[in-house]
């Protein structure tokens, strides 16, 4: 990068200084970046490492903790609710990834040069991400009502439904997915649009002069050049979707819910289960084991993406 040359220039006047001054000067940058490493050690690294330790213990948060070895993990492996929650989270990850496709299409349209008012559309699409997800979940709870909800009213106009979004076990996950897609497509559109805008129009011009059709341009120029941006959004989506919490919690009764995740726990995500395990049933050790397991799942998904899609050659 241009970075290196700038630095080399910055280094030159320093060479004229005495050794003592140079040592003093070289301490400054460490001082400037120290807050990050100190705070990360206390509030990041320590909790991360302690999570592993805690996952081998049984602890209710009050009485002395007890070392139980791998017991939490073996319980987890035979815990049907855990598997259901994991299934729900992965389901939501897969289904909500449609928002990346929607976002890419919208960004492609906005970048095509065929439409004006790009800023207005971009701003409108981005609005959902600005709002509190708890507040949004309350709004959607009323929109999803069975008899009077606006979603069912609109479906009724075209002869569909009504769908019992929040009570019917089959529709709970789709309801969460709709809120999540609605919330995040604009964010991804804005990121994709920035990526598309950074591709030089000369490339397109050259391809057109060479007689390339737009399909070829899309698959052989746009997609390969967008791969880093796509990877960025996919990884963020994996991390975000597997940690869904506010929407599945608030849509199905919130913090005082007697049936978190709705009917038959059909929208119970890993984080909602983890939350109720730790803070309603006060099983800190077991909840820590869940967080470690979810961490590993996220790592595996991200790795699989890198391995099979992220680095694939642009064929």
């Amino acid at each position: 990068m241009a970075q290196g040359t700038l630095d080399a220039r910055a280094g030159r006047p320093a060479a004229k200084l005495s050794t003592m001054q140079q040592v003093r000067r070289s301490l400054w940058p460490y001082l400037f970046i120290a807050p990050f490493f100190i705070l990360f050690a206390i509030f990041g690294l320590f909790p991360y490492l302690y999570a592993f330790l805690l996952s081998f213990q049984e602890w209710d948060g009050i009485s002395p903790s007890r070392w139980v070895g791998l017991e939490n993990y073996s319980t987890l492996m035979s815990d049907a609710v855990w598997w259901k929650a994991l299934y729900n989270s992965v389901w939501l990850l897969v289904v909500t990834s449609i928002n990346l496709v929607i976002a890419f299409a919208l960004a492609f349209i906005l970048n095509s040069g065929l439409v004006r008012f790009k800023d207005i559309y971009r701003t409108a699409f981005f609005m959902p991400i600005v709002a509190s997800s708890v507040a949004i979940a309350l709004v959607f709870t009323t929109l999803f009502g069975l008899n009077y909800g606006l979603v069912n009213y609109v479906l009724g106009l075209v002869g569909l439904g009504p769908i019992d979004w929040l009570q019917d076990a089959r529709w709970a996950k789709p309801a969460v997915a709709l809120v999540v897609i609605w919330r995040y497509f604009g964010w991804n559109t804005v990121i994709y649009l920035a990526g598309l805008q950074s591709i030089s129009t000369d490339l397109y011009e050259a391809a057109r002069v060479d007689g390339a059709r737009w399909r070829d341009i899309f698959f052989h120029i746009t997609l390969p050049l967008m791969r880093p941006t796509i990877t960025f959004t996919v990884i963020l989506s994996i991390i975000g979707a597997l940690q869904l919490f506010e929407e599945p919690l608030m849509l199905f009764g919130g913090t005082a819910s007697t049936s978190p995740g709705g009917t038959d726990r059909s929208a119970l995500t890993v984080l909602v289960y983890l939350y109720s395990t730790a803070f309603q049933y006060v099983e800190f050790g077991y909840a820590a084991a869940m967080s470690v397991a979810l961490f590993l799942v996220i790592v595996v998904f991200s790795f699989l993406y890198y391995r099979f899609l992220g680095s694939a050659s642009e064929a």
Binding site: D7, W28, F36, P47, V130, L138, Y153, Q197, Y275
Partner: protein
């Protein structure tokens, strides 16, 4: 695509071809406008619905067809909102937490970003890589021990857990580094050094004033994140006087489970201020956001 076919034919056909392309472009752009406007409406409508419902009692919210214009129950909803919870206090708490966190983030992240952008020091690149790698760890892993840590520190029901951790965060430092390394000339610092200014002074007097565009974008981004944060405050804040808005909203859902108007008035209070700030600064904010995201690749 059609330019190439046009070129190989006689000129009259070429102009007719061009006309056809223009007509086709116009046709497809009409379709595109319809799609984009439809999507924009879907994006914006729930906010309008929220405002409508916050001025109505549940009896008129739950009617067929659903109401699309504001009603007359705003005052009634408001009086229930503020008797159910100390809602203005909760709003103030959100403001206080978000604002103090944001100010600290701007300071520590610009300082760290400046160091990574403009100094050469042993292990710089390794430290930078480590910092970036920490961003890949999903926060859920540390959630239980973080809660325990706050208990040990005696920080339960205090704002410190919401303000202090993350004031020097990897994303912010990365962000500021990208901006500083691409848009702050070295001559500026060299000149100040020759004048004998020490390094912190250079940061404070020379660097800070010229990186305000990046600081503004980071400020909005950070403020939004803190204003909307829910999981950790939910664990930390026990007394309703200390609730921030998202936690207060969750409690509002339990208090007024059958009165959607009150819930959505609470939501409006939580959303409207930040939405106005966003809409006023949208152009600059998104330009900054995307510049950082793309340069980061």
């Amino acid at each position: 695509m059609a330019t190439t076919t046009g070129r190989t034919t006689v000129s009259t056909v070429e102009t007719r071809g061009a006309d056809r392309i223009r007509a086709m472009d116009r046709f497809s752009s009409v379709i595109l406008y319809i799609v984009l406007t439809g999507v924009a409406l879907v994006s914006a409508f729930p906010f309008w619905w929220m405002i409508v419902a916050s001025t109505r009692r549940s009896a008129t919210i739950l009617s067929t067809p659903p109401p699309l214009v504001p009603g007359t129950a705003l005052a009634l909803n408001y009086s229930e909102l503020v008797t159910g919870l100390p809602y203005w206090r909760n709003t103030f708490n959100s403001l206080f937490v978000s604002l103090s966190h944001t100010i600290l983030v701007l300071f520590f992240c610009s300082l760290g970003g400046y160091a990574f952008a403009k100094f050469r020091f042993p292990a710089r690149d390794q430290l930078f890589a480590i910092m970036l790698a920490t961003m890949m760890i999903p926060p859920v892993l540390g959630i239980i021990p973080s809660f325990m840590l706050m208990r040990w520190l005696g920080w339960i029901d205090s704002y410190l857990p919401l303000i202090v951790p993350g004031v020097a965060n990897a994303f912010g430092i990365f962000w500021m580094r990208q901006y500083i390394s691409s848009s702050v000339p070295d001559d500026l610092m060299d000149a100040a050094r020759i004048d004998g200014a020490h390094e912190f002074r250079i940061y404070w007097n020379v660097i800070l004033p010229i990186i305000t565009p990046a600081l503004a974008a980071l400020a909005i981004f950070t403020f939004m994140g803190r204003w909307n944060e829910f999981f950790f405050p939910l664990l930390i804040l026990k007394d309703e006087m200390n609730y921030t808005l998202p936690v207060a909203l969750a409690s509002l859902q339990n208090l007024y489970s059958s009165e959607q108007g009150v819930q959505l008035l609470g939501s409006t209070v939580a959303i409207l201020p930040i939405m106005i700030v966003f809409l006023l600064s949208a152009r600059r904010f998104m330009a900054g956001l995307t510049a950082g995201a793309v340069k980061g690749m």
